[in-house]
């Protein structure tokens, strides 16, 4: 293809570059910027929550608004921040890592991104509607989210539909790209782990997002068209809602962590200057986690009154899923063992990931013990658990990835000092925020309450101060990104001494078009 035929080789200019682009790098950047924006919006809601919980009593907000904050915070962080960030990373890196010129379905790629701003504009607009935003928790259990919901619930349903379509299309694109566009000599068992984990994640997405879509559609017909899927008064069952939601929801939590496993499996070998230990077992562990993730959903429902046999089955299955999860941690540690390590910012985030995610895994294992879950369920102990797997888990892996590949994206090195400052402030902030939640949870503080009895006051104050530290530290990250985009020390093609993989064969910054002829894979 020559320019004589009228093809562009560089990006278009102005706003049309972003509106109409089919370039995986542009779309990847847009996903990442969008998710960062959502991270700050969702984060400010978390700070409203922490502000109200500084001390007992109602000070800052009323209970109805508090519930809107917890709900919107959860929805935005899950669907607006973490998931789009991973899709952005996939867009940028999967083609570069498998030696493909672009994603397989570039127009679809553009469409799936541009659905998101509309979805979240609609979701956020509920905040100013009569009756307020959704206030029934990110898990939106019926009938609180149907019969008893504020009128804005219809907009919420439509927003979920849009975000869901976006995810499904994005996932299809990843699957088609990985299956068809790999450099000819790259067999499946030579693929980098980030590509592997994303392939598996994409299958999970295609499998469960339609279930979520079905569930919200059933809500819609219950609310507007007189059906009673979730209304016992009409022959329905509120617990059916929970089965459907968690059949989506448990794989969903793995959707938010498998790509993170991939990222850590790229970064740890690089900075240990040593190949990943147990590549094959990592692939098998990821696949078995994905398969098992379809069989554990009712561990979120131990107290709804499922029969004893069901309770036992879901307890055993959940305990089992921690085995492959453990294998991954052991493999990372074995990779570091006898390596030659350095500790640049991506590695710091990766090490913190391994330690703190493992703590989240431990509390997961405790929650799996069904009888004990009767005491843990719906307390702050659960809040501590899932924030440990999601914040130093998913979010830290995204941060690690951003630092790791930013020089490849921008052509400039980021500011290492600021990066480390960002890391340490985040690290201290998040542990101050979430570790005390284990204690208040065990001592009996229910989750999702705007006010609490006085025995929980001290730890909540610590959590709130930690929350503010963590929240404001993220501004350092914005500073790092802005500085890095603007300039800085020029990055080489191989940014990190120990880095291996096709993405390091292209210059930094990666040109607008890469791998127009497929590379050789050793």
């Amino acid at each position: 293809m020559t320019s004589a035929v009228g093809h562009h080789h560089g990006p278009a200019t102005g706003i049309t570059r972003w509106l109409f682009t089919t370039n995986h790098k542009d779309i990847g950047s847009m996903y990442l910027i969008f998710s960062l924006l959502m991270f700050f919006i969702g984060g400010s809601m978390a700070l409203v929550i922490r502000m109200e919980l500084v001390e007992p009593g109602l000070q800052v907000v009323q209970p109805e608004f508090f519930n809107q904050m917890t709900t919107m915070h959860g929805l935005i962080m899950v669907f607006g921040a973490v998931m789009p960030a991973f899709v952005g990373l996939a867009n940028w890196m999967v083609p570069l890592m498998i030696g493909a010129p672009d994603m397989a379905l570039p127009r679809l790629n553009n469409f799936s991104f541009w659905l998101l701003p509309f979805a979240f504009f609609m979701l956020l607009s509920t905040l100013v509607m009569d009756g307020g935003a959704p206030d029934f928790g990110w898990t939106f259990y019926a009938p609180l989210s149907t019969t008893y919901a504020p009128p804005s619930v219809t907009f919420f349903i439509f927003a979920i539909h849009l975000a869901g379509v976006s995810s499904i299309l994005g996932a299809i694109n990843v699957i088609v790209t990985i299956m068809n566009m790999r450099a000819p000599t790259m067999s499946y068992m030579k693929m980098p782990l980030f590509v592997w984990t994303w392939l598996i994640t994409a299958f999970l997405l295609v499998a469960v997002m339609p279930v979520l879509a079905g569930t919200v559609t059933m809500m819609l017909t219950d609310i507007h068209f007189g059906t009673s899927f979730f209304d016992a008064g009409g022959g329905g069952d509120p617990v059916l809602f929970q089965h459907l939601f968690w059949f989506f929801g448990h794989p969903e939590v793995y959707i938010m962590i498998l790509p993170a496993f991939g990222i850590i499996s790229q970064i740890v070998p690089t900075f240990s200057r040593k190949p990943l230990f147990g590549y094959a077992s990592m692939v098998y562990a990821t696949s078995s986690i994905a398969l098992l993730s379809f069989t554990v959903w009712a561990h979120h429902m131990f107290t709804v009154g499922i029969p004893l046999v069901g309770e036992l089955f879901f307890m055993y299955a959940t305990m089992l899923i921690s085995v492959p999860t453990g294998v991954k941690v052991f493999n990372w540690v074995a990779t570091m063992f006898r390596g030659s390590m350095t500790f640049e910012t991506p590695m710091l985030f990766a090490i913190a990931f391994i330690v703190l995610f493992t703590i989240g895994g431990f509390s997961g294992l405790m929650l799996a013990i069904s009888p004990a879950d009767f005491q843990y369920h719906d307390t702050y102990f659960v809040v501590a658990h899932f924030h440990y797997v999601l914040v130093p888990g998913a979010v830290f892996s995204i941060m690690a990835a951003a630092y790791y590949w930013m020089p490849k994206w921008t052509g400039n090195m980021y500011d290492e000092y600021l990066g480390k400052c960002h890391f340490w402030c985040s690290f201290v902030g998040l542990n101050l925020t979430f570790f005390p939640m284990h204690f208040v949870g065990l001592a009996g503080m229910p989750r999702r309450i705007p006010d609490y009895s006085i025995q929980f006051a001290d730890f909540n104050l610590v959590s709130s101060l930690g929350g503010f530290l963590f929240g404001f530290s993220q501004l350092i990250f914005v500073l790092v990104v802005v500085k890095c985009v603007k300039g800085g020390k020029k990055a080489e093609a191989v940014v990190w001494e120990g880095a291996e993989g096709l993405e390091w064969q292209v210059p930094s910054p990666a040109p607008y078009h890469t791998f127009e002829t497929p590379p050789e894979v050793k």
């Binding site: 928790g137 305990m319 063992f337 006898r338 009888p371 229910p446």
Partner: protein
């Protein structure tokens, strides 16, 4: 060097925090509770906790040992090994064995928790937005239990008492040493009835009845809270259980029944506007103010205003007003209070709504008129 300054700043904050609240009670762990089941759960919790601690120490010490000794700056040369089937098998099989060992006591405890047969006392627990109803099956006794914390404490106008948000007007009273079966259900959304000291947590699901049981060892007052998000006042529907000896329980039953009978008798006498207003205000605060607000202004559009509203002021809408209070409005948070309040309470609260906040209609709704309306159904 410079990175150090970030972390030392953090340390200073930590130290400051520590001194600020050094005087406080930092409860760390799950309660052992006062039942056999709660104690088995506590020991399961501690077992799995220590298993996690041991694994954590093993894994993290290898990791930190590597971080310290195998760093490039310490001159470490990277080895290139990347596979070892034996090791991989070991760290797959050993965790499985540990988990099997853990699954055995967990299964035993779970089976025990599910055995609701042969109970001595049966109590139906019904969740409402935002209170609990207790019905003693076979005793013809039923009452509601509401949060009794003074709103001024919630809004920081007066000092909070030690049972802040964990106190109710009518606690559930049960005998010790007896097997008590709870039949848990709900009238509206899903709630969850949880008393940590008994390790009883059961979701209250509208249209379905869940079973659970306990046998309490010690006399005492045990407090819990609703555990499932159930709307606006989810944080304000506590549970208080008073466990008493058999004799005290019998006395309490008799007493409670007598006071209910007195309430029924009171419906027959003539009530003045002042009396009704005084009683009505109390009933309104506990049952209606959560939604319609203390000043009657409601929260648009979910909870309509009563102040200056047509229904609470127009003479031709009196019957409609009474009907809504008695029967509720399907598909909304407005409940059917005929089943929850006595005739006197209903008359009082409707009278109150028609005369408070400048509604000043002068209407008096008598307990007798409520009774006849209920009979005509």
């Amino acid at each position: 060097m410079k990175e150090r300054s970030c972390s030392s700043a953090a340390l200073i904050i930590l130290a400051a925090l520590w001194s600020v609240s050094a005087q406080a009670d930092w409860a760390l762990n799950m309660t052992e509770g006062v039942t056999e089941v709660s104690r088995s759960i506590y020991s399961l919790h501690m077992q799995i906790f220590w298993i996690c601690v041991v694994i954590a120490i093993a894994v993290f010490s290898v990791m930190f040992w590597s971080i310290i000794h195998h760093r490039k700056s310490a001159g470490a040369k990277a080895e290139q090994f990347h596979e070892n089937t034996t090791v991989e098998l070991i760290w797959t099989i050993v965790p499985v064995l540990i988990l099997v060992a853990m699954a055995v006591p967990a299964t035993t405890t779970l089976i025990e928790m599910y055995d609701t047969s042969d109970s001595d006392v049966d109590i139906q627990v019904t969740g409402y937005q935002w209170k609990w109803q207790y019905q003693y099956l076979g005793e013809d006794l039923s009452f509601f239990s509401n949060l009794s914390t003074n709103p001024d404490e919630i809004y920081n106008k007066v000092e909070k008492n030690e049972n802040y948000l964990l106190e109710v007007d009518e606690p559930l009273v049960v005998p010790i040493g007896k097997k008590i079966r709870f039949l848990v259900t709900s009238n509206d959304v899903i709630h969850s009835w949880w008393v940590p000291a008994f390790a009883v947590k059961r979701d209250a699901i509208p249209g379905f009845i869940n079973e659970s049981w306990t046998r309490i060892d010690e006399v005492g007052i045990y407090r819990g809270q609703c555990a499932e998000l159930c709307g606006k006042d989810h944080g304000f529907m506590p549970i208080v259980v008073q466990a008493v000896t058999d004799e005290d329980y019998a006395l309490w039953l008799a007493d409670k029944k007598a006071s209910i009978a007195a309430e029924v008798a009171a419906a027959a006498r003539i009530w003045s506007l002042e009396e009704l207003m005084e009683r009505g205000e109390k009933v309104y605060q506990t049952n209606c103010a959560a939604c319609h607000q203390v000043g009657g202004q409601g929260i648009s559009p979910m909870f309509p205003a009563l102040k200056a509203s047509a229904i609470a002021t127009k003479p031709e809408q009196i019957d409609e007003h009474i009907k809504i209070v008695l029967e509720g409005r399907a598909g909304t948070a407005m409940q059917a209070y005929a089943a929850q309040l006595s005739a006197v309470e209903l008359a009082a609260v409707i009278t109150y709504e028609r005369n408070a906040w400048g509604n000043d209609t002068g209407d008096i709704i008598t307990p007798q008129s409520i009774q006849s309306m209920l009979k005509s159904k």
